[in-house]
Every structure is written in structure tokens, then in C-alpha cells.
């Protein structure tokens, strides 16, 4: 799961030493880094090729499909807006997976943290509606509640893991169902808006406390927040002692303990960050999209985020382009359905191809000499 576990990484280090004699180190670094771009790109292309064969087999034109994919996902300004809007929650929910993954933890309960975060944000905002309380106070309060609710929820899974040895994958998933049940309890019971007889929801948070769209874009601020957060977490995980300690722990928890690293604190912190990211996604779903909390919060973003994080190899920065790719596929899925008369599952088939080919391509890292620093490396 984590880069540390990858046996090729020390080899890069050794290769760097060998190669530093004659060539520019920056150039060689770039060449080595390009491996992490070229291989995924080739894998995605291979997946498209396979998918084209699938389309031919069912008598549809791959060229039409690709041109529609382009038109619907990236071809016009409107398409980009559609793509980025769909990518926004995925960036945050993927970060909720990527951060604990640095420790070797597989947290799949982002959905629950998202739901709870969104619900908490709505719950704190609703009493202020109509009181004239300035948005400058209520909006930060909503964010804090969303972060706290999400953070505590995944944090609980982290605490259970460290204190009681409970598998975090299972506990976070189960907690996720509890979170959804908690929200349903409140929106169908004590906090229900009785003017909405057919769909149980909280009262609306009101336009004053809603998050507007970004200027010149039809995308809400959740997207920019996700990108910034991905960069911050990328730096935190790759350029700080905290990130380094997390990676050591992810490589071998017992060794990390023996070295005196605060393993418990690392697990808890990463779990809190994870839940906070998902909670923030929930905040934006309520404050920028739905305007109230209801069952639509559990739209599956938390689960798609798992896929995005795995495809980004749990690299927080790589999460952004992968989320945009998924957003584009989702955006184009509609027009593919409409113009080609194909079922919604078509795009799922393509996603499946991409996922499998990308996972298979994991075995290719370190196998091509061209990417090795010094050009003579390879797998030793």
C-alpha cells in the first residue's frame, strides 16, 4: 500500500548515488519522476484500447465514444465546469483515504464522515436562519463542526485501531453505516422539515449561509479548497518529519515503535485529518449544493474516493488529476448515454478497465531502464 513497502525505492536511492558522477541531477530526478506519469498515462491509454474492443464487440463506434467523452468531459467551458464540479467532492474523499494510507491504514469509511460532517454543518446552521447572525460567524462555525464531526468519526476508528487493535478497514466501514443511520434518525425525526412530506430533510440553511460559486466558473469553492488541501497534505506527507515518520510507521509499525516514534499519535492524527477531509466534503455538499442535510448526502462520493486514492497511489497531489479524470468520465457519461443510447453502466465498464489496467501496471515500476537514474539501473 505505501511507497516504503515498495522494494524499488531504495534502489532509486542507490542508483542516484551511482549516477551522480556524470549527469545533471535535476535532469535525472525528472527522468525518474516521469516514470510516475508515463506509466499511468500508458495504462489509461491501454484501458481505452481494451474498452474500444469492447465497444466494437457490441457494435458501437469507439471513435464516437471518444469524441463524446471529449465533448462531455473536456471539450467546452461548460464541460469543464461539469467535470470540475464532479471532481470536487472526490478530491476531498480521496484525501480521506490517501492520508491514513501513508501509515499503511486502509480507511474506507469516508462516506460516513462526509454524511456526518454535512449533517453537523446543517444542524449548527439551521437555528441561526432568520436571526440575522452574520455569515462571517456562522459559516466558519459550520466548517468547524463539519471538520470536527468527520474527524471524530474516523478518529474513532483510528483510536480503536491503536488502542484495541480493531481492524480500521472494517471499523471505519461499519461506523459509516452508523453515521448514515444517525443522520437519518435526526432528519426523519427531531430535525425534520415538515414542509417536505415526501423526502425527509432538515430545514434549509438559507441562502445567506450558502457557499457561492467561484468567480467565472460554475464550480463551487469546494474544488479550490480540495486542490489547496491536496497540495498542503502532499507537502506534509512528503516534505516534513511528520510525513517521514508516517511513512516509516507505514513501512513497519513495530520498527517505528522501537525507534521511539509516537505511533499512536501518528495514527490518531492521520485518522483525524482523514475524517476532517471527508467532513469538509460533507460541508460543501450541504453548504454549496443541497442547502440542507438529507439522504442525498450519502451519494457514494466516499466510496468513489477510495478508488481515486488507490489510482493516485495514495499520493495526495496525484489525487487531483485522478479526481478530475473521474469527474470527466462522470460528466461525459451522461452524453454518452444520451447520444449513443447506451446504459449508464457503460462508463462503469470503462472505469473498471482503467482500474484493473492501472493496478496491473503497478508491477511495471522499476522495470524500464529509461527511467532509472544513470540509465543503467533496472531491478538490479
Amino acid at each position: 500500500m505505501s511507497d516504503v513497502a515498495d522494494p524499488t525505492v531504495p534502489l532509486h536511492g542507490a542508483a542516484l548515488d551511482r549516477a551522480s558522477a556524470g549527469k545533471s541531477p535535476t535532469l535525472m530526478r525528472l527522468r525518474a519522476a516521469s516514470e510516475f506519469i508515463v506509466i499511468p498515462v500508458l495504462a489509461v491509454m491501454a484501458a481505452f484500447l481494451l474498452f474500444s474492443l469492447f465497444l466494437l464487440a457490441i457494435g458501437k463506434s469507439p471513435l464516437t465514444f471518444l469524441s463524446l467523452l471529449w465533448l462531455g468531459g473536456f471539450g467546452t467551458a461548460f464541460s469543464w465546469g461539469n467535470t470540475l464540479q464532479r471532481a470536487s467532492p472526490l478530491i476531498l474523499t480521496a484525501l480521506a483515504v490517501a492520508v491514513p494510507a501513508q501509515l499503511g491504514l486502509t480507511v474506507i469509511g469516508g462516506e460516513g464522515a462526509l454524511v456526518l460532517g454535512g449533517f453537523a454543518a446543517a444542524a449548527i446552521a439551521v437555528p441561526f436562519v432568520g436571526t440575522g447572525m452574520p455569515a462571517l460567524i456562522v459559516m466558519p462555525l459550520m466548517i468547524v463542526f463539519a471538520l470536527a464531526a468527520g474527524g471524530l468519526w474516523v478518529g474513532l476508528a483510528g483510536w480503536l485501531r491503536y488502542r484495541r487493535g480493531v481492524n480500521e478497514t472494517i471499523s471505519s466501514l461499519l461506523l459509516s453505516y452508523i453515521a448514515i443511520a444517525i443522520m437519518n434518525f435526526f432528519v426523519e425525526g427531531p430535525m425534520r422539515d415538515l414542509n417536505q412530506p415526501m423526502k425527509a430533510s432538515t430545514l434549509p440553511i438559507g441562502t445567506a449561509y450558502m457557499v457561492p460559486a467561484m468567480p467565472h466558473l460554475s464550480v463551487h469553492w469546494g474544488f479550490a479548497t480540495g486542490v489547496v488541501l491536496a497540495l498542503v497534505l502532499g507537502v506534509l506527507m512528503q516534505r516534513t518529519t511528520f510525513g517521514f515518520a508516517a511513512k516509516i510507521t507505514g513501512g513497519n509499525m513495530r520498527a517505528a515503535q522501537a525507534q521511539g516514534l509516537p505511533v499512536g499519535r501518528l495514527i490518531l492524527t492521520c485518522a483525524l485529518i482523514s475524517g476532517a477531509c471527508a467532513g469538509l466534503a460533507g460541508y460543501f455538499e450541504v453548504a454549496a449544493v443541497q442547502g440542507r442535510a438529507n439522504a442525498s448526502l450519502a451519494a457514494g462520493y466516499g466510496f468513489t474516493g477510495i478508488l481515486v486514492s488507490f489510482l493516485a497511489r495514495h499520493n495526495p497531489i496525484a489525487v487531483v488529476p485522478v479526481a478530475i479524470l473521474f469527474g470527466g468520465l462522470g460528466a461525459a457519461g451522461g452524453i454518452v448515454q444520451r447520444r449513443m443510447g447506451m446504459p449508464d453502466a457503460t462508463v462503469l465498464v470503462l472505469q473498471g478497465f482503467i482500474f484493473v489496467v492501472l493496478l496491473a501496471s503497478e508491477t511495471l515500476y522499476g522495470r524500464f531502464r529509461i527511467f532509472q537514474m544513470g540509465g543503467s539501473g533496472g531491478r538490479a
Partner: protein
């Protein structure tokens, strides 16, 4: 559906125009009168088009709409009730040139459809639930059909087809529209068998196949020999009941193929009446009504053709009851008690579209189960 094929264009226009005039509670100004040759209709479904339920009922009608000259239909399924549906609507408008959008799921309405209607005043939006009020944009609106009338017919047939008189009902949530269908079902059954009872189990969710199967089995175990339901996709209920050897009545769309032995009839929407009416009006450049609704009398609901489970007595009783409903005869003719002994609907008889009937919070006497 069968009757539509035989209706000629002239006659259709006449009836549609007449019914539309009768149904219009408010009208929208329609800026661009569009020629009949360039109407693109965008239809949005929350689930799969072949779900044997709500979505299929719309999709079947949309298929027929595709046959209307000059109408092009674009469809998108599995669209969640999030900003994804806003983008789907925009995509249909921007990339496909849709002039009429039909979002068919409840949660699409607010805020998504309302916002899109505000930002696209040239596009018409009609939503399949009774939500539009005159405070909403004038280019938006609602359409819906009173399926309780078809459930009442289900009940009439069920009361005659059931041997034990013990009927079972698998329901999603105890909300007004569902309670009304349950009550109408038993009321229909009691017109044939005054001792009939209806045991209801709520699953708590619109789509929860495992619990729907459990509920069906529990009802059969409790002695029910005829099962019906109000869930999004009745497939599991009908199949489970069929495998247990009991009779079934359907809901939303035709489930007849799922139960070749025990299917009696089913309550079905007939959205095509509404959709074709919209298409014709737009084709002529006329405004669409903001609110369109109806039942048997407006040809907006129907019952599935009788299956092998329908006895002769059931067919005759149901046919007679359908005739009454088409003539506008009320279903709720006398005051009734709820199953806790309180008198409800004291001002009966009620017109079949009376507002009081929309807000049922109770189950009538003879229904075994709790509405809260």
C-alpha cells in the same frame, strides 16, 4: 398504451387540448414558439430504466413519445439527487438543445430544478411530483397521477382473487402517498369481501431488496395469500411471492412477466398521456400547464392486463370498478375509522382529488400495521 396506438392525431389533439384546458391551474408564457420539428425533450431517471418500477413506468412512456413526429428524446439514467442532476440538465440544454426537461425523481426538484429553471427561462421544466407552487418559476411545473385509484382497482381484484381474504402489503415509508395507496387497496378489497384484511410491513427505505424479500416471506408466513407493494422497484416482492406460490398485484409498472402463475393485476402509471400532451402543445407553440394531474378519468393511470391469478369474478369486479372511476365516481364515499378506532374523513363523500385525501397519516380499520 394499447389505446394510444389507435387514436388518430386529430382526435388526440382535441382530447388533449380539452383536458389540458381543464387541468390548467396556471399557464406559463412561452417565449419562443417552436416548430414541431425541433423539439428535444430531456428525460432524467434516478435509477435504471428497466427497474420494473417507477423509472420503467416513465421510460416505457418515453419510448412512445419518441414516435411523435418532430420530437427527439434524450435520456439519462442513474442520475443521483445531487448537483449531478443540475449538470445533467445543463448538459441537455447546452449540448443537446433540449427545450423541455422532465426530471422524474422527487429529490431533483429543490434546489436543482428550480435553480435551472431560473437560469434558463427559455427552457420548460416539468417535474413528476406535486410540488410546484405559484412562487416557483413560471417555466417550471409539476405533473403527477393519482395511483391510489389503480391501487383501489388492485384491491377490488385482490378481494375477489384471494381465498383467505388476508392480503399483504410491503411498503417503503409511512408517508401520505403510501398510506393512501394502502388504504385505497383495502377499501377496494372490502367492496368485494367486507371481511378482507391487509397486513402491512414498512421496510423504511424506497429500495431495500433484502428487507423487501424478508417482508414478503413474513407476510406469506402470516397467512397472506395475495401480496402487493409500494416500493421503488417491486421486482423482488413479486418474484418472492411468486416463488412462495401466492398471488400478486403490481405497482408502478408492469410486473406481469415476473409472475406468470400468480399475477392478478397491477397499479400502473400512464405517463404517456401527459408526455404526449406536452409534446403536442409545445409543437404547436402553446404554453404548457404548470400543473397537470389526473387519474382514471383523465387516462393517467391504468391497471396491468389481468394475469393468470385473476379469477373471473375478480376480472368482472375490477372492470366494473374501472368503469365507475372513469366516470368520476368517488372512492371514499363514507366516513371510516382508522385502525385505532378514531373516525377519519368525517366529511365523506370526497372527490377523488380532494386535498384531505393527500394528507393521510393513518391506516384504516382492517389494515394490520402502524403508520408511525
Amino acid at each position: 398504451m394499447l389505446t394510444m396506438a389507435g387514436v388518430n392525431r386529430r382526435k388526440f389533439l382535441q382530447t388533449t387540448a380539452a383536458s389540458a384546458a381543464g387541468l390548467t391551474l396556471g399557464t406559463a408564457s412561452f417565449r419562443a414558439a417552436r416548430a414541431a420539428t425541433d423539439l428535444t425533450v430531456g428525460v432524467i431517471y434516478v435509477g435504471a430504466r428497466d427497474d420494473f418500477g417507477w423509472n420503467q413506468a416513465h421510460a416505457v412512456a418515453v419510448q412512445a413519445l419518441k414516435g411523435v413526429p418532430g420530437v427527439k428524446v434524450v435520456e439519462e439514467e442513474n442520475v443521483p439527487e445531487t448537483d449531478a442532476v443540475a449538470k445533467t440538465m445543463e448538459s441537455m440544454i447546452n449540448l443537446d438543445g433540449a427545450a423541455l426537461i422532465l426530471p422524474t425523481s422527487f429529490g431533483y426538484y429543490s434546489p436543482f430544478m428550480i435553480e435551472e429553471a431560473k437560469s434558463h427561462p427559455d427552457v420548460q421544466f416539468r417535474h413528476a411530483a406535486p410540488l410546484w407552487t405559484d412562487k416557483d418559476p413560471k417555466n417550471a411545473g409539476s405533473y403527477f397521477a393519482f395511483l391510489d385509484q389503480a391501487h383501489y382497482i388492485d384491491g377490488v381484484a385482490a378481494g375477489a382473487a384471494s381465498v383467505s381474504g388476508k392480503l399483504g402489503f410491503v411498503a417503503a415509508k409511512p408517508i401520505g402517498i403510501v398510506l393512501r395507496n394502502i388504504n385505497s387497496f383495502l377499501l377496494g378489497a372490502r367492496t368485494v369481501n367486507p371481511k378482507a384484511t391487509c397486513q402491512v410491513i414498512f421496510t423504511g427505505e424506497w429500495s431495500l431488496p433484502v428487507r423487501e424479500a424478508e417482508a414478503t416471506n413474513a407476510l406469506v408466513d402470516a397467512g397472506c395469500d395475495l401480496i402487493t407493494c409500494h416500493v421503488d422497484g417491486p421486482k423482488v416482492v413479486i418474484q418472492t411471492a411468486e416463488s412462495r406460490g401466492v398471488k400478486t398485484c403490481g405497482h408502478n409498472a408492469s410486473q406481469a412477466p415476473l409472475a406468470p402463475k400468480g399475477f392478478v393485476t397491477g397499479a400502473e402509471y400512464k405517463w404517456i398521456t401527459i408526455y404526449k400532451g406536452f409534446a403536442e402543445l409545445l409543437g404547436k407553440g402553446q404554453p404548457l400547464p404548470n400543473i397537470t394531474f389526473g387519474g382514471y378519468d383523465k387516462d393517467m393511470v391504468q391497471n396491468t392486463p389481468y394475469g393468470a391469478g385473476a379469477t373471473d369474478k375478480a376480472r368482472m369486479a375490477a372492470d366494473a370498478a374501472i368503469k365507475d372511476l372513469k366516470a368520476g365516481k368517488p372512492i371514499w364515499t363514507t366516513a371510516v375509522k382508522d385502525n385505532k378506532g378514531q373516525v377519519v374523513l368525517p366529511n365523506a363523500p370526497y372527490d377523488n382529488y380532494a386535498p384531505d385525501l393527500n394528507s393521510m397519516t393513518y391506516l384504516i380499520e382492517g389494515v394490520i400495521g402502524s403508520a408511525s
